[in-house]
């Protein structure tokens, strides 16, 4: 850590300060040093990739290939971080972090907007480009800058808003038109939104089924020791079957079923398509739901239940007044885990003829189109993050007030 030592020697003479404030300062200097290192490495990796057409070989583009202005723009945030590291910690140095963060978001966007026309003029009208590892690393460094901040202030939100506005403006102007992901998205057109809705629908139905089956099953399992001996080993076995195998395994019985009862086919129940996918996904999702629900119910303080019984609550009242309210946060956590997991697993539905964003991923793989795979992946990630956030809010709202302090 060359940088770190220099920074410390410059500002912090050996053994000069030992207070808590100083150690926090020290910690922030170390973080700054790490950020600078990440920035430095990003400059040596390909910042973007260009291609003559959709399937031709990638041509890596480095920062050195850029003109002076974008290069300077990219260098500005690291410079600010260096300044921050050299300064005594104060309000002003916090602002320096805010500026570095906002600029760090804007600079790569500017580079992308700048590179687009360049790529077309050099490689022809079918040329396209995508961000490279250098840019990803650069953005990672910016993310750490935000993490370094003691707290996110209004100024940071303004910075993010400005960055977003710039993206929209540049995008509207057509600066990102030759970006591979956007090209793929445009090619898909209305099919894209259809696959997104299909993905949400498949996930939603699967989670719905596993919640309706899983939570009551968890309650029954809690009540009966015999059920416990049956349910958990079964779930464990189910969980060890690889995803694709389970999807495949369902084809034969469902196909036979729909053969035997043609009526079923009208309802969409057949060997391939969304039905087996939903069944398989529900089977996977049920595990976290039962596990979490069971744990939530059984980890309720025994004395609380004893007191409730001792006060003369009937078994139903103990469930309604004591157990379920106290277990709700835990049960919802299970559903949340299942949801996040199912959004990812639903990608596999494509493999047995189902819909969803898996279509993008697997078709992209088939066509050797990295951009298409990336588009599918990014959308799945976005869905996952959104679902997770929404669920967190839901859990907070449904958790009894006095239990919220324990952290969701």
């Amino acid at each position: 850590m060359e940088t770190e030592r220099t920074v410390q020697e410059l500002v912090l003479p050996m053994g000069a300060n030992v207070g808590q404030f100083e150690s926090r300062l020290n910690f922030h200097r170390k973080l700054a040093a790490i950020v600078l290192l990440v920035f430095a490495v990003s400059f040596f990796l390909p910042f973007f990739f260009a291609r003559e057409n959709r399937i031709s070989a990638e041509i890596p583009g480095r920062i050195s290939a850029l003109a002076l202005l974008p290069t300077l723009l990219l260098l500005l945030p690291p410079t600010m971080i260096l300044l921050y590291a050299l300064m005594r910690n104060s309000r002003r140095s916090e602002w320096l972090l805010s500026f570095a963060g906002a600029l760090g978001l804007l600079a790569p966007l500017a580079v992308l907007a700048y590179v687009g026309p360049q790529v077309v003029s050099t490689l022809g009208p079918f040329a396209r480009y995508s961000p490279g590892s250098g840019m990803y690393l650069y953005v990672t460094a910016v993310a750490i800058v935000y993490l370094m901040k003691a707290r996110i202030r209004i100024g940071d939100y303004i910075g993010l808003a400005v960055a977003l506005a710039v993206v929209l403006a540049l995008g509207y102007q057509g600066s990102f038109d030759r970006l591979g992901i956007l090209l793929e998205a445009r090619n898909f057109g209305t099919r894209l939104s259809r696959e997104i809705t299909a993905h949400i629908r498949i996930t939603g139905i699967s989670i719905g089924i596993s919640v309706l089956v899983g939570i009551p099953l968890a309650l029954v399992t809690f009540q009966s020791r015999r059920m416990r001996k049956l349910v958990f080993p079964l779930l464990n076995v189910l969980q060890t079957i690889p995803g694709i195998a389970l999807f495949g395994l369902l084809i034969a019985p469902l196909a036979a079923l729909s053969q035997a009862f043609p009526q079923l086919r009208e309802w969409g129940i057949k060997g391939i398509g969304n039905t087996p996918a939903i069944i398989a996904l529900s089977m996977y999702a049920i595990y976290p739901i039962i596990r979490y629900s069971f744990t939530a119910i059984s980890s309720i303080d025994a004395s609380v239940v004893l007191a409730a019984q001792g006060m003369g609550m009937s078994s139903g009242q103990v469930w309604r007044i004591v157990r379920l309210p106290l277990a709700t946060p835990g049960i919802l956590h299970g559903v949340r885990v299942a949801l996040v997991q199912t959004i990812g697993n639903a990608t596999l539905a494509k493999l047995i003829g189902g819909d969803g964003l898996g279509v993008l991923v697997f078709e992209g793989l088939g066509q050797a189109s990295v951009d298409m795979v990336l588009l599918g992946m990014l959308l799945i990630i976005a869905l996952t993050v959104a679902a997770d956030r929404i669920f967190q809010i839901l859990i907070t709202v449904l958790t009894p007030v006095s239990l919220r302090r324990e952290g969701v």
Binding site: V304, Q309, G312
Partner: protein, 370 residues
């Protein structure tokens, strides 16, 4: 060693809660073995014994949390086996060591639980909660809307007791209710309990493993071992005449002192005093080395004690509040004051600190032998 079911004394007190020959078996293990127990009405019955002696099991049999394998428990005219469990339990307050307050409910909602289960009217319930919180010395304004995690251990126990008293049940079952708090808080809670019990006169069954607590609170003390009753009597009787070696060991080597803690000064040994505002002359000083002369100040507060020891007049200044006792001090405290002062007696003062009487070592000795 003589064990087996012991018919309780206190025969003059009626009992509407009677356990007749109850046993509890879990497979091979016998938790309770043929226990017969008549709980005296409006008194405090304390069950005590080492861990696993069956005291908590006995308590849980009474509110049917544990089913008896044989024998029966009668509540009034009916056997509890014939009653609905929930009705039975709603008629018996239940307080436990870990309190078991509902963590998702406020203090008010916790105290209100049984009245709500019984379907009392809303206004009546709110009124009841306020009264109960005041009874356990918690300000309703302050505590009503607090959550259990915002309470100290002692406060939580108080809420637990208030909750047990929720629907004004005739019977109160308490399973080491003060077990989980520090000694100082525990003593305060015991004081509060004694005060509340004098006021409410519930039929209380109290389980503890703390012999001092038991002696302090019990009207009727039941010592258990290995699922059987070893001795059941008033604490005075048990301390005076332990049934066997086990009880004797369980009571501890200081049982004579413990017994003294059951008698108060004004109950049995307060005596008239010789006093004056000046130093006593030889004739003023009572004869014999068992009595004292107390010199008092203008307010009537004792400042110096005089007595004969080996034909010489000994004087001792009264400098600390531990040198004197009050009429309601226990005889144990009197002993302590006598030893602290180094005199054959100690001065008894009233609430304002004025000389009121004296307690002599000799008298205490006589009583502890009785």
């Amino acid at each position: 060693m003589t064990t087996g079911p012991v018919r309780p004394t206190l025969e003059e007190t009626p009992s509407f809660l009677k356990a007749e020959h109850i046993s509890v078996r879990y497979g091979e293990t016998v938790a309770l073995n043929d226990v017969t127990l008549h709980i005296p009405t409006n008194r405090v019955t304390v069950l005590i014994g080492p861990s696993g002696c069956g005291k908590s099991t006995t308590l849980r049999c009474i509110n049917a949390l544990v089913k008896t394998s044989s024998g029966h428990i009668d509540y009034g005219d009916a056997s509890i086996q014939a009653m609905s469990e929930t009705d039975l339990r709603r008629n018996m307050g239940y307080a436990i060591q870990s309190v078991g307050l509902m963590p998702h409910m406020t203090v008010e909602e916790n105290v209100d639980l049984v009245p709500r289960l019984l379907g009392w009217k809303r206004a009546e319930r709110a009124e009841r909660v306020s009264r109960l919180l005041k009874l356990v010395r918690l300000d309703p304004q302050v505590y009503r809307n607090k959550y259990p995690h915002e309470l100290s251990g002692g406060e939580a126990q108080r809420v637990g007791v208030a909750r047990a008293l929720g629907a004004d049940p005739p019977v109160l079952l308490m399973d080491e209710p003060f077990g989980a708090v520090d000694p100082l808080t525990r003593e305060q809670l015991q004081d509060e309990f004694i005060r509340i019990q004098r006021q409410l006169k519930k039929t209380v069954v109290f389980v503890t493993h703390d012999i001092d607590e038991a002696v302090r609170l019990a009207d009727y003390l039941i010592i258990m071992k290995d699922g059987m009753i070893v001795q059941a009597d008033t604490p005075e009787q048990i301390l005076a005449a332990p049934a066997n070696e086990f009880v004797e060991r369980f009571l501890g080597p200081d049982r004579s002192l413990k017994r003294l803690s059951l008698f108060t000064a004004d109950h049995c040994c307060l005596e008239r005093v010789v006093s004056g505002t000046g130093k006593p002359s030889e004739t003023q000083l009572p004869k014999g080395s068992n009595r004292c002369y107390w010199q008092v100040d203008a307010d009537g507060k004792p400042i110096m004690g005089y007595t004969w020891i080996h034909n010489r007049i000994i004087e001792r200044p009264i400098t600390s509040s531990t040198h004197t006792v009050q009429p309601y001090s226990s005889m144990k405290e009197c002993m302590s004051a006598i030893l602290g002062l180094g005199m054959p007696a100690t001065a008894v003062v009233d609430d304002d600190g004025r000389l009121y009487g004296e307690v002599r070592f000799e008298t205490i000795q006589t009583i502890s032998l009785s």
